[in-house]
């Protein structure tokens, strides 16, 4: 006879081993037997939350509505160096935008794609809606819809026989009295159900019950306010939480608020304060580096990324950013080292091989150049990546003086990505070399059209 393990204990074990699906199924069985088992109920909420959990710090999407109807902006034109929204105000040295490519919004291209690397604001609502809002480039209309919806669709997909918890029937005031249940419930509502309104209500009731002494609830309140776009209220909650308890997370959330308010200097100050409390904390250092990078202060950004690497020498973002910075400051051989390090760490994708190929070419390691690009082509996951590889191959072809090959490469870049403005530009230059003015006009007309579209974004 096999001795059965206590099912709750088994569920716990599953949970700890991150087998959330099995855990939640097991909990459902327990709940069928005894519907009022609070432990199983709580465990199931946690398992369901974990399935869809995304670190809130890294989720950021500023919708068009937030951007256009921004009532936090004090000045239309901020002073240089105090805003993230003024592109091209470099203060920290580093290569000029002429050397280092910029995004469509005028910020330097970073070595690492992360939320909000493509920002900047359109002039009018019409421009905002007209811009090519593809799944890659565009922002949603409001952050409450868009991506959060996709994050929150879990509630609609998973359970065939209705949701696990019916929020409308829940007596939030009752749960707020039970601190051991309410926290799990909150996370469930916030992450799984994506129902910020109810989450806020629960958090408000709970913090009241805790007599405003629990910093955790304050942080959750702040998160809810941030989601709802009530930035000043969020700031108040986070600050109050920080007064009670210094937490890295709270610092990061408050930073997010400041960045949303377009106060990068306040954000930097805050992060540096955080570093006083948590010396050499990697996430704080990364935050500082990111802000410097967005403010086009590449020198300081690199310094902080280097500091990050001292603490965590497998930090992909820092390696990639330092690498790209070396590449654009004419030291491709050092960039090559950094990218090779990424490769050793197991990053294996099209972009990395693309970079490796370029670095090899400019560092005169010709034997590895084309094989890297070849591998990049085979690893490309979508048309945009293929276009980028062909575009770089076009540059290599120009470098070896084969304009015919270059022409084909740029054309292929265009075939894969119709909006590849740089390829249009280079094609026009190639045609001009050949003296085919008609074609030049053709390409530059295109280029103009694309630039007009993207200037707005």
């Amino acid at each position: 006879m096999v001795l059965d393990m206590d099912p709750l204990f088994l569920a716990w074990s599953y949970f700890r081993r991150r087998k959330f699906q099995t855990c939640s199924e097991l909990c459902s069985e327990i709940l069928e037997k005894s519907p009022y088992d609070q432990a199983a109920w709580s465990l199931k909420t946690r398992a369901l939350t974990e399935i869809v959990y995304v670190d809130e710090v890294d989720v950021d999407q500023e919708g068009i509505a937030e951007m256009m109807l921004d009532d936090h902006a004090i000045a239309q034109v901020a002073r240089p160096g105090t805003s993230l929204k003024l592109p091209g105000t470099s203060q920290g040295g580093g290569p000029s935008p002429a050397v280092r490519p910029v995004t469509h919004a005028g910020r330097p291209i970073t070595g690492f794609v992360r939320p909000s690397t493509q920002s900047g604001r359109p002039g009018t609502m019409e421009q905002a809606i007209k811009t090519p809002r593809t799944a890659h480039t565009a922002r949603p209309v409001s952050s409450a819809s868009g991506r959060y919806v996709r994050l929150g669709t879990a509630s609609m997909l998973t359970s065939p026989d209705g949701p696990f918890i019916n929020l409308s029937r829940l007596n939030l005031a009752k749960y707020a009295q039970k601190p051991n249940l309410s926290k799990a419930l909150f996370e469930y509502i916030f992450h799984h159900e994506n129902d910020v309104k109810n989450a806020l209500e629960l958090a408000a009731l709970s913090t009241e019950h805790a007599q405003f002494k629990d910093w955790w609830w304050k942080v959750q309140l702040g998160k809810c306010y941030y989601r709802l776009g009530l930035l000043r209220e969020a700031e108040k909650q986070f600050k109050s939480a920080l007064k009670q308890q210094d937490m890295v997370d709270t610092f990061l959330f408050l930073t997010k608020v400041y960045i949303r308010l377009d106060q990068p200097l306040a954000a930097l100050n805050l992060l540096k304060q955080g570093l006083d409390v948590f010396p050499r904390e990697v996430t704080l250092l990364t935050g500082i580096a990111r802000i410097y990078e967005e403010m086009n202060n590449i020198t300081s950004a690199t310094e902080y990324y280097k500091e990050v690497l001292k603490q965590d020498n497998t930090h992909v973002e820092a390696i990639a950013c330092i690498g790209s910075n070396h590449f654009y400051t004419d030291q491709p051989e050092i960039a090559l080292r950094f990218y090779r390090r990424l490769l050793q760490m197991g990053v294996y994708n099209c972009q990395l091989y693309n970079n490796l190929g370029l670095c090899c070419f400019y560092a005169q390691q010709y034997d590895m150049t084309l094989s890297s690009f070849e591998r990049a082509l085979s690893l490309a996951a979508n048309d945009e990546e293929v276009a980028d590889v062909w575009y770089n191959l076009g540059h290599v072809a120009i470098g070896i003086g084969d304009s015919n090959l270059a022409y084909q490469c740029f054309k292929l870049a265009l075939a894969n990505n119709n909006d590849h403005a740089e390829a249009y530009n280079n094609l026009a230059v190639l045609e001009l070399r050949k003296g085919r003015i008609e074609q030049v006009r053709f390409f530059s007309g295109y280029l103009y059209g694309i630039l007009c579209m993207f200037r707005l974004n």
Partner: protein
């Protein structure tokens, strides 16, 4: 003067305002005898000029205020130098004027004679003294006196006095009277001052007490105490000084740069009794100006040399005419320093380092030049001409002198240093690898290149065959298209802009078709014909797309432009559809 020339001059002079020109001001002077000083302490600078008159008479000390002569004092002899300096700490801080003339320095305070300094007498040749004492006692006649003096002149170490030299110049009949007139006075030998300058005593302030520095004919430099007029320091030179520039403070450290008549420039320092550095010029100096820490010397060979403080030559420029005078332009409020060179072709060239930054054409040859505060205007340029004229110009506030040389030559960008990063060890290692494996690397690269050409050609042909590009490459139907998506969803408006890019041929029989995922999107009309396309015009074509999914996903819609009767599309465009947000609202 023709109109075009006039215009030309105006254009060149656009950086200066013509404040005053008096061609008959009757001012004959050199740059060393011109100074600007606030003599009354009222904040208005006056122009002080030691006028040489006709060279024999009419020597005057003139003071100008604005455009008119304020006062004039008669000078006894030709002035050789004129400086304004502060000699005491008294309030108000009004400067005194020192005029060097012969062996004397006349000091004027409040434009009244205040003090006369005489250079110490030199030792007299004993033989000469002996001869003259014999003449006094009528032991020798003038002829033998002349012979003996000539003998002394040729042999003696100590040169003859002025009286003896004058005597030797005389005609035979005048000798008797000359001897009778002078024989009773004792013989004295005096040197004369050749140049004068000022040196701050112990403070660097603008109105600090300054010592006078004088260079004399007998190859010496004296530094005089500003109050007692005693000789503080005496330095010997190998030659007679002609031009002098002084910088520093007497009690701390100073540097005297002297251009001498032997064609050398000597640089003296505080501690050394002998010249510290020597610059040997290829020709004689006609002007000496210090700009910041460098010395600019004008030479008789129509050249301008720039040297460092230690005598190292930096640059040489060649001028179109010989130099008449030189002056420093020091615009303190703008921090701008340049050298003004008056040339014999009636031009004043302004040099910043070796770059010619401005040319001023003048009505006459300029003999003296002085830049500074005149009246209340900071940037005034005072010039006097060979014909006795006075020119006053004011620097325009908007005037900017760019670094660029006005003369042709390599562009400025050529001299801008590129920010080349340091050569890393890694780079060296890699070049080593490259050198060692050159053949293998080349072969690998060539092989990869062939393969790449093949891949590229294959992909290119595939793209051409299926017309994947958003522009038609066929010669018969050159078309281009771009697409704009508007709306939030679930229904979008898709606008296609189609343009015929040929020069004169219209396009006909065209149609548009779409390819899309039918589970995700629905189009009202997924196929329609396009009207005749007139070349160059933009045809916007609208259609509506409905998004059927509520899962917040998006896909690509492909647009094909087709020609009736052809199986291949003319061109293809991919439209990345935005995420439909309409479902969030319901």
């Amino acid at each position: 003067m023709s109109g075009s020339e006039n215009k030309d001059i105006n254009e060149v002079n656009s950086k200066w305002l013509d404040a005053h020109y008096d061609p008959v001001a009757n001012l004959y002077t050199f740059s060393s005898c011109v100074a600007l000083a606030d003599l009354n302490g009222d904040g208005e600078s006056k122009l002080v000029v030691g006028d040489l008159g006709s060279g024999a008479s009419n020597m005057k000390l003139k003071v100008f205020k604005g455009t008119s002569l304020m006062t004039e004092n008669t000078l006894l002899d030709l002035p050789t130098g004129l400086v304004a300096f502060h000699m005491d700490q008294n309030e108000p801080r009004t400067p005194a004027i020192a005029v060097a003339s012969g062996p004397f320095i006349y000091v004027y305070k409040n434009l009244r004679p205040y003090f006369k300094f005489t250079l110490p007498p030199l030792e007299v040749n004993e033989l000469e003294q002996e001869v003259w004492s014999q003449a006094r006692e009528d032991k020798i006649d003038p002829m033998s006196l002349k012979e003996m003096l000539e003998g002394i002149r040729n042999k003696a170490q100590v040169p003859l006095s002025v009286r003896s030299l004058k005597f030797l110049m005389l005609e035979h009949q005048d000798m008797e009277s000359f001897v009778n007139m002078h024989k009773q006075q004792p013989i004295r030998r005096q040197t004369v001052i050749t140049c004068i300058g000022t040196l701050k005593k112990n403070m660097a302030d603008e109105d600090a007490v300054s010592c006078l520095v004088i260079g004399t004919e007998n190859m010496e430099i004296y530094v005089l105490d500003p109050e007692a007029f005693t000789i503080l320091s005496k330095i010997s030179l190998p030659s007679t000084p002609a031009f002098m520039d002084v910088t520093g403070q007497f009690d701390v450290e100073f540097r005297i740069t002297v251009a001498c008549r032997n064609g050398n420039i000597y640089i003296l320092r505080r501690d050394s009794k002998k010249p510290k550095y020597c610059i040997e010029l290829s020709s004689h100096a006609v002007g000496l100006v210090r700009v910041n820490k460098n010395i600019v010397v004008g030479c008789t060979q129509e050249t301008l040399h720039g040297c460092t403080q230690k005598g190292k030559k930096l640059w040489t420029t060649y001028l179109p005419a010989s130099i008449v005078t030189m002056g420093l332009m020091d615009h303190k409020s703008r921090g701008f320093q340049a050298v003004l060179v008056g040339l014999a072709n009636s031009e004043v060239h302004m040099y910043r380092d070796k770059n010619l930054v401005n040319i001023i054409k003048t009505q006459d040859v300029i003999t003296s030049i002085c830049f500074g505060k005149y009246g209340r205007e900071d940037g005034s340029l005072i010039m006097t001409t060979k014909g006795g004229g006075l020119i006053i110009k004011i620097l325009k506030r908007t005037a900017v002198f760019d670094e660029k040389d006005t003369t042709p030559g390599p562009p400025v960008a050529q001299s801008v240093k590129l920010n080349v990063p340091k050569k890393t060890k890694l780079y060296v290692d890699q070049t080593m690898r490259e050198r060692e494996n050159a053949v293998a690397m080349h072969r690998a690269f060539q092989m990869d290149l062939y393969r790449l050409r093949l891949t590229a050609a294959r992909a290119y042909v595939k793209a051409l065959e299926s017309n994947l590009t958003p522009m038609s490459s066929s010669a018969s139907e050159p078309l281009k298209m771009n697409a704009v998506v508007q709306g939030l969803g679930p229904s979008f408006k898709l606008t296609l802009n189609i343009q015929n890019t040929s020069v004169c041929r219209p396009s006909m029989n065209l149609a548009i078709s779409f390819w899309y995922d039918e589970k995700l999107y629905s189009l009202k009309t997924s196929f329609f014909k396009i009207p005749l396309l007139v070349p160059g015009l933009n045809y916007p074509i609208d259609t509506f797309v409905e998004c059927l999914s509520d899962k917040g996903i998006s896909d690509v819609i492909k647009v094909f432009v087709l020609q009736i009767g052809r199986s291949n599309p003319l061109l293809t465009a991919h439209i990345n559809m935005p995420v439909s947000e309409g479902m969030a609202l319901c």
